[in-house]
């Protein structure tokens, strides 16, 4: 069963790969907000969104389609955990 920490780790890996961040393991472990990452713009948020939806097999609702929500990785992990549960 996935935990928020496990989901958070997967989100960090997704951010790293979909946004081509090339972070070290240490940088990755401390990554919590994508909007603090250089180059996080309206296009990269789309790339990240697409990667997250594909990875977790979900479609975000209208209320969640906000850059501030998607950039907050712990908050996003909690949302995914709550909505996917065992499925993710």
């Amino acid at each position: 069963m996935s935990t928020p920490d496990h989901v958070l780790h997967r989100l960090r890996l997704l951010a790293d790969s979909s946004l081509n961040l090339n972070l070290t393991a240490g940088e990755l472990a401390s990554l919590t907000r994508l909007d603090e990452v250089a180059g996080f713009d309206s296009l990269s948020v789309l790339q990240f969104l697409a990667a997250v939806e594909r990875e977790f097999g979900l479609t975000f609702e209208r209320a969640q389609l906000r850059a501030a929500f998607l950039a907050d990785l712990p908050g996003l992990a909690a949302y995914i955990e709550a909505h996917c549960g065992k499925a993710c």
Binding site: S42, L43, L46, R62, L65, R66, L70
Partner: protein, 321 residues
Amino acid sequence: MQTQADTTLAPPHSAAPPLRRPLIRVKDLAWLIYLYPVRWLTLILPLRLLYAVGDVAAVCASGCLRRPRQALLERLAPAFDTTPADPRLRAIADQFFRNAILRFLDDLLMERLFRQPRLPKVELVHLDNLTQALSAGRGALLVGNHWYAGRMAKRYLATIGFPILAIGNHAPEDRHAGWLGKRFLQKRYMAFLGRTVGDFISTRDPDCSLKMLARLRSGGLVRCLVDTPQSQALVESSFLGQKTVLPAGFLHVAQLAGCPLVPLHCLGHSRHLTVVFGKPLLLQSAPDQKSFAERNLAELHRILEQQIKDHPAEWDGWIRW
């Protein structure tokens, strides 16, 4: 026709040094007169009189605006593979400035016109292309150029059940504005246009692409004007005889939404408006961003360029003035 998008991903806009602006320029005065006395007059004078004044002003404008006219002729020449002295271009220039003045008048009259069923003649050509695109329930992304009649068409389509979310720049750089214009009047003008057009988001909004996606996912319509470089993703392309950069970010939104692109062009003015919907274009996938843009933009640019060549006096994008 030279719409070959060589689609090299272009570097983002470099931050230009701030312009040193004089306190006031001719454009500031034009904004001031347009937004206050002229706008007030259009609220009270009869429409028939306003249209008559507009028609006279439109004829005068094409003769009076010498510098913009020269700039226009020089811009038209490479697109039509001729010289600025070509009489055909002079006729286009005359009509271009007439259309510009009539568009300024239509913007002022918009609220008034849509309070009552006053648009006398509207033609919707191939509306079935739009309804077909929307039938899958994934929305549709209307792609077009800066047509003079674009705002009127957007407003009209909303009244018949096709509300459109428009994307644009709330504060475009304007080198013709003085300090007064840049500091105050441009904001007032953009606010006025925002009220006129309705349902509009800025490209500077950090949630811009997500709001577009939300609208498309709810089965709605989004309109992108793809003849100006307003995007985080730009491609270099040859368009109307000039090397330029054009946006590609909208393709990624459409891809994620799974919606088609519908080419749109709008002609005329409030007294005779024509809106033409092109055949829906389905996006083709590609292994990387560059080839994705390359594969999907070439055909789109060809269509949009041909629309402009067919109706050159209706396109607002030839010159900035």
